[in-house]
Every structure is written in C-alpha cells, then in structure tokens.
Subunit: 401 residues, 2 copies
C-alpha cells in the first residue's frame, strides 16, 4: 500500500480547521552565529513554539536543493521524485492557463535576432509586458491543422506556450543556444518514438511561422523555447485527503502549484497583511488553508540577511490575525531554505512548528533552527507533514484493528 492509498483509506471528516503557513525559503544559515530566524525578534512565534511540537524537515532528500515545485509538492504530501512537474507546466500554471492532461507546455523567451537570424539578445532587452502581449497576439494568428496553440504573457521577455490536441512527447531538445552570435537551435527528438519525432516536426513548423510573423518586429523578432513538459494530472487533494482546501498566495507559481493539486485559489494581493486578512475573511469556508508568503525567499535570494530578518518580523507582528482565528491545527514551515549568506535555494532542513491541542510540546523557547531540532518531531521528510496535520486535526482514522 502506498502513502496515498493509506490516506484514502484512513481519511475521515472532522470540523477541525488546519492552517499551513509557508514562509518561502525560511530556513537559513548563521551570520555572526545566528540564522535569520534566530536573529529575528519573533515574540508571537516564540510563544507559539513553546506551546507546540517542533522539528526540522528535509524537503526532498538530504543534500538535495529543491526548486519551488518539488518543495511545495513535498509539503502537500506528493513524493517529489515521483511527481515531477516540468518547467513548462509551471510557466503555464503561473499565467493561470487551465492546463489539461496531454497538453505540451514550454517556456518562451522573446529574443532579438540579427539579419542573419543569429541571436543578438536572448532576452530582447527585457521588453515591457506591453510589447510581449502584442507579440503574443501576432503569434496567436498562426494556425497549424489539428492542434490548438496558446501563448500567454508572463512578464518582460517571458511567456508560456501550450500545444493541445495531438499525441505529444516532451523528450525534446531546447532551442535556446544559451549564448549569442549563433542562431536558435532546431527542436530535436531525444528518442526514436513516433510522437517525439512528430512533436519536434510540429514545433519546428511552428517556429518557422513565428519567424515569418515577427520578422519585421523589434526588438522581439524571435523566440526561444525551453522546458518542454507534458501535463499529466496528479491525484487531487480532495480525493487523497478528503480535504476542502484553499490557497492564499500572491504569486502566480504558488497559485499554480495549489491549483495543480486541486485547491481553490483565492484572489488576494501579495503581502503578509493582505494575505492574513484574506484568511480571516474566508475563515470557516474551508477545512484546509495554505497561506504562502514569498518575501522570505526573495530577500534570501537577494543575499540580504537583514531584510530577510525584517520579513520574518513582519510575519510575526501579524501572526495574531491568524492566532485569533484559533485554528485547530497551525503549522509554520517552509518549502526549502534560502540562506541569505548563500543567496540561493539550498538543501538545508527547514524549520517546522505544529501547534494543536494534541501536539506533544517541545522544550523550545524560540522559533529557530537550532532549538527546533530538539523537538519531538525530530527531523522528518516534508512528505510526512500532511499526515501529521490531518492526524492533529482528527482527520485520520486508526490504521488496522
């Protein structure tokens, strides 16, 4: 029996409400002896930690640095080595494209080509979104019999391409040459299957049409395709856990990941206060609330230790908005670490706190990595979180007699 079969077998209804607060990239590394979380003044989280069970979580496997996709899928209980979400799919989800099983998605970069078709600028000078939208409009005029073509603006030079209506393969080479002074590469099939050969032909035909459509444009007179990915529907939250779940997340990718597992995605402004207020506004309508705060990760990626500390303190100052709702289960954790000293996602275990009247309570007085590890949850894998949250919320029956 696998994990999901176990969950489906044991899931049961309860009135309890669960809040999963994800502070993206929260885990850190010490600067002058303390991590960002240890350095932050967090009276509400500290008090909560002293009444909670705590531990650390390994997002994928020890030593593996997760992207946002695997990091979140693991938090949602999906083994990220089993459920691989390609970059094209994440782009499509990011622009709220209603992707379907069998769709082929890719990331698009608008680029500037010279008169001989060689790449002058792989990002077309980071064109404004307006030009991006106009170029997408032109590309939408292309018709290839038997398939539907969708292209949606992301931001600046980035867009998402989706093909629908045929038997596609995503085992294809990318067209971005990764340098200037050479032409974009053709799409090549990476295996001999008929669908790989056919999909490569279709895409090369599409790229010819794009070249014709954009040849008099500037600076965006070409496109580069990367991250081909076929969409395969994954088991839904409702089916696995029986949960009526929603996502409160300001950023497109996290909204996309939540929609992928079947959560209702709530319209919200991005930011600690508006997202927490949105949670309060919705309170009672769902069993499970995924709240995503992006800025801990952003400031970590900026390498700005102090600014990351400030975001953590901002979250703490607004925590009473959540505490006042008296959620039956409240977890605070992260999808991965983004230590400011490292300036990027990293493999380090992430902080975890689970507050509920059934939590064992650790001898912890501060919400910081070095204290949390002493909690009775120990060091878990992130895919273990969902069963724990359900258990604390009375949503899992006993296994076996």
């Amino acid at each position: 029996m696998d994990r999901f079969e176990l969950m489906q077998m044991l899931k049961q209804h309860s009135e309890e409400k669960i809040v999963l607060l994800v502070l993206d990239g929260l885990g850190g590394l010490p600067l002058e002896g303390r991590t960002e979380l240890e350095a932050a003044r967090t009276p509400f989280m500290d008090d909560l930690a002293s009444r909670s069970d705590t531990g650390l979580m390994i997002p994928v496997l020890p030593g593996i640095t997760p992207g946002s996709g695997p990091g979140h899928l693991a938090l949602f209980g999906y083994d990220p080595l089993q459920y691989l979400i390609g970059r094209g799919i994440l782009s499509a989800l990011g622009v709220k494209f209603p992707i379907r099983e069998g769709d082929l998605a890719a990331r698009v970069n608008f680029a500037t080509l010279d008169a001989k078709g060689k790449v002058l600028d792989r990002r077309a000078g980071r064109i404004p979104d307006e030009i991006n939208r106009a170029m997408c409009e032109k590309i939408r005029e292309i018709h290839i019999p038997g398939i539907e073509i969708f292209i949606e603006t992301e931001k600046e030079h980035r867009a998402a391409l989706i093909l629908r209506g045929d038997r596609f393969s995503d085992n294809l080479s990318e067209t971005d040459p990764q340098k200037t002074g050479v032409p974009p590469l053709p799409v090549k099939p990476l295996d001999n299957r008929a669908e790989s050969v056919h999909t490569a032909e279709l895409l090369n035909q599409f790229l010819d049409e794009v070249r014709r459509k954009l040849k008099n444009e500037k600076p965006a007179n070409g496109i580069l395709l990367r991250g081909f990915a076929l969409h395969q529907q994954i088991p839904l939250f409702k089916k696995i856990y029986g949960l009526n779940a929603c996502a409160i997340a300001g950023y497109p990718m996290y909204r996309g990941l939540a929609s992928l597992v079947g959560m209702d995605v709530i319209e919200t402004k991005s930011g600690v206060e508006p997202e927490f207020e949105k949670l309060a506004e919705l309170w009672g309508a769902y069993d499970f609330y995924f709240v995503h705060i992006k800025y801990t990760d952003s400031r970590g990626e900026d390498g700005d230790f102090k600014a990351k500390v400030k975001v953590i303190e901002e979250v703490d100052s607004h925590l009473p908005t959540i505490l006042n709702l008296k959620p039956d289960v409240l977890a605070i954790t992260a999808d991965h670490s983004t230590p400011a000293t490292y300036g990027a996602h990293s493999w380090h275990p992430v902080p975890l706190l689970i507050n509920s009247k059934w939590a064992r309570r650790s001898e912890v007085t501060h919400f910081g990595e070095n204290e949390l590890v002493r909690g009775s949850l120990g060091t878990l894998r992130s895919i273990d979180l969902m069963p724990l949250l359900l258990a604390h919320g009375g949503k899992l029956a006993k296994f076996g007699a």
Copy 2:
C-alpha cells in the same frame, strides 16, 4: 526516479575538494559514563565540531550490524540492501585480484585433514604465509577445460579462489563443516537452475583435484570453501557523481571496496600519520579523497577501550595535517560502531561531522555521540552522506524549477 538517477541528473562540476575521513568502527558504548570518543581528549575535533554541522548516521537500518562491505558501500551512497557484495568478492578485492563481471569468487581456508579425510584443524594451525603461497602454487597446476582458475594468498590459512569463463551460479552450499571430526562437505546447488547444478559439479571436480595435489602435504592438505559470490559490476563513482575520487587506505579490503566503486587506489603505508601525509602529498589531484583509518575498529574488536581511545587521540593529534589543506568539505564519520565493551561490530548509529562554509553549525562543543545527536543533521542514514557532501561542495544543481 531513484537516487542514482537523481545524482546523475543533478551532478555538476566545481573546484571544491571533499575529504571523507572514515575512522573504522568509531562509534562506541559508554564505560564509566563515556564512550571511547567522549572519553578521548580531542581538542582539534572538538573545535571542528563547534564549527560544523553534526548528527548520527544509521549504516543500514536501525538494529542492523553491518560488515565492512555494507558499511562502506552505504558511506559511498550505495544502498547496501540493493548492492550486496559477497564475501568471496571481498576476499578477491582484498588480494587486489582484478575481478571481472561474471567471475565466481570464494574464500579459501587451508585445513588439516586426517588419513580418512576428516577435518583435524579448520585453519591448518594458521600456517605461515609462505606455506600458503606454496600450496596455492600447487593448486594453480590444476586444469579444468573451459575455465580459468585463480587462487591468491591472503594471509595465514586464508586465500581467495576465483573461477572465470563459464556461466556460474553462486547459489551453492559451503564446504566448511564448521567443526572437526567430519569430512569437508561437497558443494551442493541450492536451486535447480542448470548453472547452479553445473557450477557445483565443476567445484566438486576442482576439490577432487585439490585433494590429489595436496594429499602428501602437511599441515595444509585440504581446503574449505565459503562465501561463494558472483561478481556484478556496480555503477561507478565517476558516472553517478561525476567525481574524480581516490582512496587512501592501508588495508586491502578497504582498498578493494574503493576500487569496486571506481576510486583510484593510492599506494600508502597503513597508519594515521602516513595516510594523512599521503593525502597532503596528493592534494589538488582529485575532487574527492576517501581516507580510511583501520585501528579504531581493531582496538574495538580487541575489547580494549583505552587503546581505542588512544587511536582516536592519535587521529586528533594529526588532524592539523588535514585542516591545513583547508578542504572545502571535511566529513569525519565511521562505517559502523565497534564498541570496545561489546568487542565486535554493532548496530549503533555512528558519529558524523560535516565541516564546510555552508554547514549550519550545531550547538556542539565536543565530538562525542551524545552531543552530536543535537546537531541539525539529526539522525540520517549513511546513504544520505554522499548527496550532503556533494551539496556542501557545490557539486549538485537545484532539483526542479
């Protein structure tokens, strides 16, 4: 996707140098309240631990006592339940025999038989190596059509036998009766497959020839065969991790295990100082240096607590030779525990320290089992070590977008 597929996908080159220092059998049990490692005066390791991340590692599974083979394979990232290295193969590796895929290896004991062919001494009085070599020379005169027979002296009464050139099975019964006063047992196939029946026949024919060749010798006038094992090549370090790795190990078995995974095996004297000096001499030529110190295990097996403490202190006193090289990543750990009070390999988790500028740093002031467990690495499995070392050394790319 399995671990090795993941590693192959994420591996990337970096200039960082990794040192894996294995103190064989380091983990201990307390005598008068402190383990060998806790009792040892280890100022350099203590200082290092306070600047490192720490934890404990379970070599195979909780409760499982590993031999040297599984213990080391796990450290090298190979699931020891999936990659089983038979005792015959370890013997062949131990004598530096260039074993090939499909070879059948076995351990040989020279024994003394009486006039009726019954075993008088299962170890032939622990004959000197010289007699062993002379007996091997005689056995090499045996010819069986269609196969090659190799026999190599190990030490005292022990040798390694290797058959090559046919389709063999290793699902065979051993010939050592494990007691005196009875004749050696014939080899029996343990299943009905043609290759099992055939291999048993070949070996019994070989044993008849040996009996004839040695019948006038003494005290070594017979052999006993144990640990039949077919050799199957396992994935190499270079392919899985992209590492240019070497092994600095004085003892044959560890040199053999390192060569099995494709490390360059460096000629060295056995001992803390010569091995550490060899590392310094080679510094820069490899990405990954496996350094193996045997004596912690030997003194543990002797049941000599004080002597094991002394070996640990000797390692500590020479640690500056390694520290002065400023390795980017330095791990100190063990393949298994060999508590002196227990006097044998045991199942207890082993100490682990990872020093690198990207280590989270635990609140630990002494390199001892009870402190290490508080580190943020928690309790890992030994197969998790390699990905962690690669991550700290910048040798693994991000997983997923």
